[in-house]
Symmetry: C2
Subunit: 204 residues, 2 copies
Amino acid sequence: MPLRSGTSREERFEERRTQLAQAALATLSELGFARTSLREIAQHSDFTHGVLHYYFTDKVDLISECVRVYHQLVLARFDEGLETYQDLDTMVAGVAETLQRTITEETAQHRLWYDLRSHSMFNEEIREDVREIERTLEGFAWRVVLRYAELTGTEPVLDSLSNYRMFDGIFYAALLDHMAGDPEATDRLVTQAGWLMDRICPQR
Amino acid sequence: MPLRSGTSREERFEERRTQLAQAALATLSELGFARTSLREIAQHSDFTHGVLHYYFTDKVDLISECVRVYHQLVLARFDEGLETYQDLDTMVAGVAETLQRTITEETAQHRLWYDLRSHSMFNEEIREDVREIERTLEGFAWRVVLRYAELTGTEPVLDSLSNYRMFDGIFYAALLDHMAGDPEATDRLVTQAGWLMDRICPQR
DNA sequence: GGGCATGCTTGTCATGCGTCAAGGGTAAGG
DNA sequence: CCTTACCCTTGACGCATGACAAGCATGCCC
């Protein structure tokens, strides 16, 4: 009966849902939204396509769960220490390295996110989930800026939302360039981010 | 035989292709990429689905033509006079008004563009077409900045590509917000654009 | 150890897709 | 007036999809 004793039925149910959503995420990030079918998802997991209908009422339900699981991943990834940066040089180098690495190594995940956000333009059912993730990203971007301001002894002259939007703009662009094979994409991103940061936290 | 006498076979062929691509664009901007089928496109035109295969070898051929037609539309729209702005106040007001209007009135077309760009992440065949359009947009954004610099007697301190990417970032964000029902989306865009512009063309 | 709920598989259904072939209507040219 | 070339419609195909129902296996409980 239970896969793991000591857990209730509901817990096990939720656990499986999460597992399946994770498998679905892997497929989505490879093939993109448009090409991903339920059978394709099942094939990339240890199950068959029928099980998806046991755990999800329909495809939209699955996708929504995927978005929520993705959100958790985003949260987990960005938890890592901003406070470890004790001086400006370390932070600048660290952020630059992180940007470069995440663009080149986590390309598929970022691509999935932007694909998802695009689909929220046409699919109202996932729109709220997407905005929730955006709020998380906005919060993260803001914490970076605040730390930078702290280390430079300055004050941000831009609001949190605008700040996020501008950084998101250059990040998305760098991702697109990188995927198109542009070798200078990440360097350009770092330069642009530095430029922006200095304008958001101007030295007196 | 000919729809219009005085035109060659090739010309008429190209003309029909363009017409059909325009009809396809209308459908795409309404339903989005994922939901648009050839039958759906035909149903929104004066023809039946079979004709699409007479004028296009396959679906990718159609989409490519759509992107090219869209590009022409973009070019046409942005041709309107930047040089009519004779002083700074007129320009600021004019650009602000244009931004507000295009977001609220041409929502579907912008949405289509970002949908298209997203799909270029997974569909390599349209990637080059998309980049071509981006170059056009970049050029337009740069001309706006140059005109602004001229009227303020300043010099841009950012390169053309970075400039485009940042403006595109806030524009895309405003579009998403507007579609999500946020009534302040366009006002925020104008504010952000002003902030950015002043940093790109700083007063000495 | 028989009964039974749970978890997963298998097979099937209708639908809609891209593609294509065959054919009809129409107007120009002999 | 008849032929011919062109443009478009119709209908059909093979296939993939989301959804679902029936059934099988597993392991707990009485």
